[in-house]
């Protein structure tokens, strides 16, 4: 279905992206294998949508986000990005100096507001240093802009000269959001942006993110492991397993009719508040998945309740089944 998306609507076009970390051992650091944290991942993000990436820990979703931010240099593939000034650029290949400019358009919200805010700097510096750098603002002009930003995320502007220790987790995350929005970005990568917050604050923060999206016309890439959060905020969702996208679909399609056995297992693992409706877990308790395994088999075969011979012999290809892109031999049949 992505083939039908007009190109000028696509803000991020990731093609065959790979990030393999070499595993070194021994005194002279000989590379003997690689961890395929992200393995041949392709997807497109449309302007103005919220694109969710979910998966268990170790599935490579954070690595994927860091590759898009170019915190990590991917080992293969392209990351097409429709920049404001320079048109389509490949984030995987741009020079560091150009990336520094692009970081004004693509911003990141970090998972842990505790560790992403330097405890030694006051709020005006934390939120304002990017403005100081990008627009050369200082003094009263900088204070005004930061105060406006704080207001837009629901914080009082008087807190300009406080240190992060003075704030609660939710307030800190709002500071982190203000910081991400300081340069009026196009694309915001939110890496587990609400995972560190408790549930009531999560809801507030998600609503804030949605309001800001409307107000500033933002596009979010929303990385999370909490399916309830993803269902609430995302327009489309990609499910990752061991570095691969195993299913990509509209949120409604995905939650109503999951096609990949892993997606089903994930959905069945969501806690149900009503004890009478609880069902048996579908996922087979298998040996820990081997990320470095390069064998010709479906990566999920070892844990799949439907695995057959074909799954252990041949890697599945991406197929479109009922509006969803699925990486499974038997999608639609099982």
């Amino acid at each position: 279905m992505d083939d039908q998306t007009p190109m000028d609507d696509v803000i991020l076009d990731v093609r065959d992206l790979s990030m393999h970390f070499p595993v070194r051992a021994g005194m002279f650091g000989k590379t003997h294998s690689a961890v395929r944290a992200v393995d041949n991942v392709s997807f497109q993000v449309r302007r103005g949508e919220t694109f969710g990436i979910v998966g268990e820990s170790g599935s490579g979703k954070t690595t994927l986000g860091r590759c898009i931010m170019r915190i990590l240099g991917p080992t293969g593939g392209e990351i097409g990005y429709a920049s404001e000034g320079a048109g389509m650029v490949d984030l995987a290949a741009v020079e560091d100096a150009q990336m520094r400019d692009l970081w004004r358009e693509i911003r990141m919200i970090f998972q842990d507001p505790q560790s992403s805010l330097n405890p030694r700097l006051p709020v005006i510096e934390l939120v304002g240093q990017v403005l100081r750098k990008a627009e050369g603002l200082k003094g009263a002009a900088l204070a005004d802009r930061v105060a406006d930003l704080l207001k837009s995320v629901g914080l009082r502007p008087e807190i300009l000269h406080r240190y992060p220790a003075a704030f609660s987790g939710g307030q800190r995350q709002r500071i982190g959001i203000a910081r991400a929005l300081a340069t009026k970005p196009q694309l915001v990568i939110a890496d587990e942006a609400v995972s560190a917050l408790d549930v009531s604050i999560q809801a507030q923060t998600l609503n804030l993110l949605q309001d800001l999206q409307e107000e500033f016309g933002l596009t979010y890439v929303f990385i999370a492991h909490d399916l309830a959060v993803v269902e609430h905020i995302c327009d489309r969702v990609a499910v990752m397993f061991l570095g691969e996208i195993v299913e990509l679909a509209d949120t409604e399609t995905l939650f109503a009719a999951p096609r990949h056995p892993y997606t089903r297992a994930l959905l069945s693992a969501v806690p149900v508040p009503d004890p009478r409706q609880r069902s048996d877990r579908r996922l087979r308790a298998a040996a820990p998945a081997e990320v470095t395994d390069t064998a010709t088999a479906c990566k999920f075969a070892a844990r799949c309740p439907h695995a057959r011979d074909l799954c252990r012999r041949q890697r599945p290809q991406k197929r479109t089944v009922g509006g969803a892109e699925v990486l499974c031999h038997f999608a639609g049949e099982i």
Partner: protein, 381 residues
Amino acid sequence: MTMTQTELANAAESNIDPTPIVLGPWALVWRKFRRHRLAMVSAVVVIFIYLVAIFAEFLAPFPTDQTSVRHTFAPPQPLALFVTDADGTRFRPHVKGLKMEIDREAMRRSFAVDAERIIPVGFFVKGYEYKLLGLIPANRHFFGPLDPRDPMYLWGADRLGRDMFSRIVMGTRVSMSIGLVGVAVSLVIGVAMGGLSGYYGGWVDTLIQRFIEFIRSVPTIPLWMGLAAAIPLDWPPLRTYFVVTVIVSMIGWTSLAREVRGKFLSLRGEDFITAARLDGLTDREVILKHMVPSFSSHIIASLTLAVPLMILAETSLSFLGIGLQPPLVSWGTLLKEAQNIRSIIEAPWLLIAPGSVIVVAVLALNFLGDGLRDAADPYSN
């Protein structure tokens, strides 16, 4: 619960600023340090010792090279404050005179207190000429005998009849400053090497770390001896002093470099460093604005802990006779005087006085460094 709406509103209004003001990082460090009693006391002692070092000439009643043939190995004379005679008791600081007796059989000189002879001691007395802070010519001393030719050996005299008290006071300057200069040298080398190692990583890191391991595996005393032996004996004392500090800091920088490297490595992975990079800051700005402030307090603490090591290193070098050479006076060269068994038996003050001063200074600096280290990271619990 019992509050009405208006009361609540009033409470909110009267308390416009409900978020407490949070102290800045350095204020937190100070608050935590203040709670460390021993460190506070040590800080006072250290400040006192450095004041002594700065105003050494003013505090020392005699020049370090003033000898007296009649007072070789003179024992310490206790300072008394009151005089009692026919007119009653008056406040009059003094020391009793010394009478020398020669034991013809043992061929030995011994001193006895001459109770009759009172040597009055005064404050701000005239004495030898010196330059205060190296600039202002002066001849007043904090205290001393009213007649500068009278003997007053508060901490005894050495084999040439020189006043130990004056020599220890003057030695404070050399010994304490060698710690500071040595630490400054190791700070520069250590931060530069550690920073390179931690920031660039890879083969630069491997090279520097193996070099540090090599240096640390060489036994220090033979290394120092070898280096010190290379100093020509006819060099002026000041140049020798400088070279000795450099030798002493040859080892000191390695531990500092490791600490800086470790800090760089752990900070490099922190989210707030990544966030700062994403804000478009250059490497230099990230290092200066985000990394250095996060470990500057640690560096201050480890520097304070390095000072006593430097002092001890200088002392041991000088004690072995390969560090500073007379006429330069340091605590180490003073201890060297107490090297033979005869002086320890006949004049134990030659060992006790400089020895205890060294112990006090080293302990005070260590406690101060401990307190600083505990206070260094106000965000850890």
